[in-house]
């Protein structure tokens, strides 16, 4: 599913909103999550999951083509951990 398919599905549930309005709302939600992470704050959505920022330490990497060693600097990366509700729902039919 892509974002535009997501917007279309949602628009069916909200006949009082135009497709553009739904799209703006969806964009705003993801923008808010991005902004929060960029300022170093977690995002916690109960039942769905939590986004946080993790630090990856510097390491010695290797150029896969030449085999040369390169120093990879430490970096901050976005991280998502699925919430309990989502994990359970994913495995309901399998368990």
């Amino acid at each position: 599913m892509t974002k535009s398919e997501l917007v279309q599905k949602m628009a069916r549930q909200f006949p009082q909103m135009t497709l553009k309005e739904v799209e703006n709302a969806v964009d705003l939600v993801f923008d808010e999550i991005t902004t929060s992470l960029a300022t170093g704050n977690r995002v916690e959505l109960r039942g769905f999951g939590a986004f946080s920022v993790r630090y990856r330490d510097q390491r010695v990497g290797r150029n896969p083509r030449t085999g040369e060693s390169v120093q990879v600097e430490g970096k901050y990366v976005p991280f998502f951990k699925a919430g309990k509700g989502l994990r359970e729902r994913l495995n309901k039919d399998v368990a």
Partner: protein, 101 residues
């Protein structure tokens, strides 16, 4: 100063930024999360451009070990969801954090 962003904060910005009535803002956010979850439960990932992709993976059964007791245990096959951030999001997070550090 660190503060966790929650549903309530996102609802507030939907009200302020695009003038949704509170009840509708709440419903829109819930519906968005529900659609993401439903897609995942059906085994489908969701790709959100300039944000990232949610990917569903099937894990096969394996023998694990309780790290505390060292006991072996069968880990049953299961489905997991992972998030792969877009280059855009990675850059937004990395550069602003590096500046703050």
């Amino acid at each position: 100063m660190s503060r966790t962003l929650t549903r309530a904060d996102i609802v507030d910005s939907l009200i302020k930024e695009i003038n949704l009535p509170r009840s509708l803002a709440t419903e829109v956010l819930e519906e968005l999360l529900t659609e993401l979850i439903d897609a995942a439960v059906q085994g489908n990932g969701v790709k959100v451009s300039s944000f990232g992709s949610f990917i569903v993976r099937e894990k096969s059964q394996r023998i694990g070990r309780n790290p505390k007791t060292g006991e072996e245990a069968v880990i049953s096959p299961r489905r997991v969801i992972t998030f792969r951030p877009s280059q855009c999001l990675k850059e937004a997070v990395h550069f602003s954090r590096k500046k703050a550090a």
